[in-house]
Amino acid sequence: MAKLNLVKALNLALMQEMQRDPDVLVIGEDVGVDGGVFRVTEDLHRTYGSKRVIDSPLAESAIIGTSVGMALYGLKPVCEIQFSGFAFQCFHQIENHAARYRNRSQGRFHVPMVMRMPYGGGVRALEHHSESEEQFYAHIPGLKMVIPSGPRNGRALLAAAIRDPDPVVFFEHKALYHAHKEDVPDEPETMDIGRAQVVSEGDDLTLVAWGGMLRVAREAAETLEQEDGVSCDVIDVLTIAPLDRETIVRSVSKTGRAVIVHEAPRSFGPGAEVAASIMDGAFLSLEAPIARVTTHDVPFPGFAREKANVPDVARVVGAARETLAF
């Protein structure tokens, strides 16, 4: 058991999965000698060599496309797209191929690959380095879309994603990389993909969040507890798709109210599906409209304005109070 931040925890998962299975390899821009621009692949190159830890040329479509080929052959590539903002360059390889080969070949092939991408704001970055694009992947049949919220579940979910027989898009929030440390067991650990977690329990309101927003939701729950005496279920979604509707619906059936927090823009965003699913499953329990606290429907602004764009505790608390007062 060691105290690790998210970067080190993800690195541990990669180290151990590569150790465990010689078919696992890592590919991306600067993932080798440099250890990745965020150091998630640090030392893999030294340990496993340049055939298994591939510094690719600068071309996202070929990173995903060649990985699809490797996966069809039986390998298990873990690709890194340097920032999620540059994954639109390979979006066709993801949608046309990674997500579809199992279906196209009617089960003759499958594509056991992981597409790791740092995402999210709050790190004073240039354009295309702060966005949250989970919605785009969540809407593609055949893909799984996972976003951990901390070192321990990050490590366990990444290991699970690597072992998963299907393609997984794996988002890592940049602001979480160094945000906090957690105890992470030395022994390999996995978690089920497709399951949300209730990370704290309450009766009055359900807060639904993931990735970088989980901390915001938890702090909002604390504030509400302390200042309003309101107790919340806080749900860490973890797998965006396939969405664990059951856990979310069960909670809202109890609380009757929900606030969804995400960093993607609001309109046609992932919160809409969560809200619609809650309505499908818990309509009669609903005591107020489901609130969504999100970034605005604008291109992510320059970082001098990002605090006003990314949901913070005050906005979540405000939305919760409105919901409770409805």
């Binding site: 496309g65 060649t66 080929g69 497709g194």
Partner: protein, 377 residues
């Protein structure tokens, strides 16, 4: 302004062995045994006859849109024939001849073009990727397969097909560049059939040849007469041997021509002249190869009837295929059905049981996608 030319200077070569009358340049003869020559010709003939038959099936509404290969038989068979079964073949959407050579049953191809994905399923031991529709996107897969083979130290070569239009896509570029850097055993076979639907090569690229595009990646590139099955064979064999010997990738440009429609939704009279087509008909790869075989007394009698029978039998098997079970659409999305998908499947199953919409569909001749076809060709 004077400047220093860099070494090496670059050249791109052209290879042709059989001329349009079937005369052999014996210095270049790849020296195939008679049986192999006969097998190649039979495959070319079968491909030609099937192609014609498939166009008719589509016209009758028994299959959907399909891309004929008439004129490109030599490019496909001269190249695919050098592969071993343990090698990989990566088609685009116009490789009927290559696919049949690799063992795809004809009825399966028909099923595919009748909208049953079952028809696109490679056999368990078959090292072929299924048909890829988005142009050029299969090329990085071929490079990835080759990388994996090299990684596993397998004695495997990968051959990937694409058209002239495909060379304009970013994926072509990225794939060849990765292949060059990784030095993997892959052979890129471009069937330059002069047209990408209605767009002629000169509007596709300002490059004089496709072969010279290899220079951008530090790869060897060669242009061959794609209607000359022996030239294609010779160039492909050399490239595959190089790849197998660890000497990296090659780009082969087969200069050929699509004699028919782009797909069954296309009307080529809108964009090209009858004279142009006639000129290429004189370079027909079958006529030329038949003339050569005739001189060598290798042309068998009754071959047409033989292949027609084979095709007819396959069509009969295709026609006897059970209607598509809609529920199969859920079977191959993930290894395991997630709950939401399970629910959707159950709802559809219920609907089907109640005999309502979405009932099992036979290949019914409903109106196909209407594009440009005027019916004139």
């Amino acid at each position: 302004m004077p400047r220093t030319p860099l070494e090496p200077r670059f050249t791109v070569e052209y290879l042709s062995i059989l001329d349009a009358e079937g005369n052999l340049d014996s210095a270049l003869d790849p020296g195939l045994p008679g049986a192999e020559l006969k097998r190649l010709y039979r495959a070319m003939l079968l491909a030609r006859r099937l192609d014609e038959r498939m166009v008719r099936l589509q016209r009758q509404g028994r299959t959907g849109t399909f891309a004929p290969i008439k004129g490109q038989e030599a490019s496909q068979l001269g190249s695919v024939a050098v592969l071993r079964p343990t090698d990989w073949m990566v088609p685009s959407f116009r490789e009927t001849a290559s696919m049949i050579w690799r063992g795809w049953p004809i009825e399966k191809l028909l099923l595919f073009f009748a909208g049953h994905l079952e028809g696109g399923q490679p056999a368990p031991d078959q090292r072929d990727l299924p048909i890829t529709i988005p142009v050029s996107t299969q090329l990085p897969h071929a490079v990835g397969l080759a990388y994996a083979a090299q990684y596993r130290d397998d004695d495997v070569v990968v051959m990937a097909y694409f058209g002239d239009g495909a060379t304009s896509e970013g994926d072509f570029h990225e794939a060849l560049n990765f292949a060059g850097v990784w030095h993997v055993p892959v052979v890129f076979v471009c069937q330059n059939n002069q047209w990408a639907i209605s767009v002629p090569l000169k509007k596709q690229t300002n490059s004089k040849t496709i072969a010279q595009k290899a220079l951008a990646y530090g790869l060897p590139g060669i242009q061959v007469d794609g209607n000359d099955v022996l030239a294609v064979y010779a160039a492909s064999r050399e490239a595959v041997e190089r790849a197998r010997a660890g000497e990296g990738p090659t780009l082969i440009e087969c200069v050929t021509y699509r004699l028919g429609v782009h797909t069954t939704a296309d009307d080529p009279t809108k964009y090209r002249t009858a004279e142009e087509v006639a000129e290429w008909e004189r370079k027909d790869p079958l006529t030329r190869f038949a003339a050569y075989l005739k001189k060598k007394r290798l042309l068998e009698d009754g071959l047409e009837a033989q292949v027609d029978e084979e095709i007819a039998a396959a069509i009969a098997r295709f026609e006897a295929t059970a209607p598509a079970d809609p529920l199969v659409m859920f079977d191959h999305v993930y290894a395991e059905l997630p709950p939401e998908l399970k629910a959707q499947r159950e709802t559809l199953a219920e609907t089907l049981r109640s005999g309502e919409p979405g009932r099992r569909e036979k290949h019914e001749p409903s109106p196909p996608m209407r594009g440009q076809r005027s019916g004139r060709r």
